[in-house]
Symmetry: C2
Subunit: 346 residues, 2 copies
DNA sequence: CCGCTTTAGTAAAGCGGTTTAGGGGCGATC
DNA sequence: GATCGCCCCTAAACCGCTTTACTAAAGCGG
């Protein structure tokens, strides 16, 4: 009762394996009568070509891999990936491709890469000196990087992280904030120090804050989860050096900060302004709705997939210019109410 | 400059292909000296076994497929899947498996199933008479159903939809609501009328509402997206028959209803109570925080994967009892303030 | 009726691995 | 000194499909 193979169909229909193969992949090479017969027999027997055999023979598997830098449970806690997959998926469906999620197996992303039977890879947030990249071009699978630094061999899709971050920080400055805390993105993988994305955003924040009469901002590393954001809030300085605003690099972390702040009795934005990064859909429904830097995530996925598919067809493609970001001002930021001044006024 | 194959390594190391294969899969069958040498040469040449060839030969691909009933862009708009994947992923990583997302290709889920080189399938929300199921057991790939009706051949993971729904409806009744609208889940796939899940939840709502002195509830089909929820709100009866509460079958739809209601000047929960279903993380941060029926989504994924892996090992497994749900009362529901009574009081 | 092009179908060689059955060498056993 | 067993290693079959020749028959103009 094992699987029906092409030979079974061939003998049942009284033709060669070749004929059966042609019936499916090259129907015009068969006479009308035999074509019908073969297809009929195949249907009756419930024949389905074995995907692995097909992939081996055709040198193409019809799937593209998504390199997930961390455990699925941590990465999928951030709606960012969901959005990205929506973009990737749209293109995949259009080109009859399926999507393979490739997280580190047994702690090793390299190992997982080798195992994966794919025609191309999309990597998320890989740092440019990650060893996984070596493996990738050693086995010569076309790859498109998302949120990394591009290299000659690998086109990269990026957004204007620096600009977006700069705009966010300036927004806070304009509202009068000077005591600002930065929630830094954690490294995508254990080995590296920090993602290119985090580096660029930090640079953007700094460029705005430096020389704006603001004291050196406190920087706290926070994961991209709500819980991590909440923990980060707890570790913020209290008392005199308490920040009046926080820049979060991820909406999830920002939401965590808001929750924790509110739980501790602070009001957002009156006592603490919070700005996120990404503009995931949930940011619009939070309480208060989150001020954040919008990036076109779905579009990013779409673009990445499109480029990868081109590469898979043999084209050489360049990294496109960074996608632009925009500040979405909602209700989680407000003008600083200087409590010191108010106190003096009494 | 094509790929390095096992033969390349074999000749370079002066051994047979078998020896190279053993070096990787059966190292104890080789002498220490040759083992080292082969491994060394392989490393130098950058050899990586071809996954498809391996899969063909070993009859196992090391990946499990997730059958997505609709386009990725619509399915991944609901955090439910993200949560589910977290659960699936945890088990996959533990067993060195990768996860293949299989949406309908060219409109056909059956076709996509055939293409997929996987060792097992997890299906989401398939109705028991879906043609995809036939294909599945014709090619004899072990499958575990999530949110479907189980059948002898296919174990199914479910929650107590009926009970959860009943509890939600009773909650509204206890708060005094009688004019209740139900947002019905749309069918998972075009062909079928409605998912088993939707049917069971509806039954739960009905059992509570029937004979509770409530008029026949209005039922509106709403997608699982926020936008669909908003649209559903618009199509609710106005005026005298305006519902004072809505039961949503999905948190996303519930959030859509809240937004739309608030946008139209209604207050939640004072003017309209809303209850969701699922308790996705975002429900806790909405404004107001959403009252909803909690189901253990991550656990569901974990369990499904665990069962599937057992099946893949040859064990026959039964459908486990439905996972239990619980009502999480937050701030989107409140006691009915009967405006008619209030008017009379004047 | 003959040579030439199409047409319809096939045999066999891959694709790149794994695995079974077995062979050569060599020290230990009797 | 023949025999046995053990340790290493290999030849060859196989996994299930695609594809490149190639052949036999049919069609066709002259």
């Amino acid at each position: 009762m094992s699987r029906v193979t092409i030979s079974d169909v061939a003998t049942a229909a009284g033709v060669s394996k070749t004929a059966v193969s042609f019936a499916f992949n090259n129907p015009e090479r068969l006479g009308h009568a035999t074509l019908e017969r073969v297809l009929g027999v195949a249907e009756d027997l419930g024949y389905t070509p074995h995907p692995a055999a097909r992939a081996l023979s055709m040198r193409r598997s019809g799937t593209i891999g998504v390199l997930i830098p961390q455990r699925l449970s941590t990465v999928f806690a951030n709606p960012f990936v969901s959005e990205l997959i929506q973009g990737l998926g749209e293109q995949c469906e259009e080109h009859d491709l399926t999507l393979l999620l490739v997280p580190p197996l047994d702690g090793s992303l390299e190992g997982a890469i080798r195992q994966a039977s794919v025609d191309g890879f999309i990597s998320i947030g890989l740092s440019p000196n990650d060893r996984a990249l070596e493996v990738l071009d050693r086995i010569g699978i076309p790859t498109v990087l998302v949120d990394s630094d591009g290299s000659p061999g690998h086109p990269a899709i990026n957004i204007d992280d620096e600009g977006g971050a700069h705009e966010a920080a300036r927004h806070l400055l304009q509202l009068g904030h000077r005591q600002v805390a930065i929630l830094v993105l954690p490294p995508a993988r254990e080995q590296v120090n920090s993602t290119p994305t985090a580096t660029r955003r930090l640079a953007g924040y700094r460029r705005a804050l430096d020389g704006a009469g603001a004291p050196e901002p406190v920087a706290v590393v926070a994961g991209i989860s709500v819980a991590a954001g909440a923990r980060a809030f707890e570790s913020l300085p209290k008392g005199k050096r308490r920040p009046t605003a926080v820049l979060a690099m991820s909406d999830m972390a920002a939401i965590g900060v808001m929750s924790a702040a509110q739980a501790s009795g602070l009001r957002v934005p009156e006592d603490l302004s919070v700005v996120g990064f990404d503009d995931v859909p949930a940011s619009a429904w939070t309480n208060p709705p989150l001020t954040t830097v919008r990036q076109p995530i779905v579009e990013k996925g779409r673009l990445a997939a499109r480029l990868l598919i081109q590469r898979m067809k043999g084209a050489t493609v360049e990294s496109p210019p960074p996608l632009s970001t925009s500040l979405v001002v909602r209700k989680s930021t407000s003008r600083l109410i200087n409590s010191d001044l108010r106190n003096k006024g009494r």
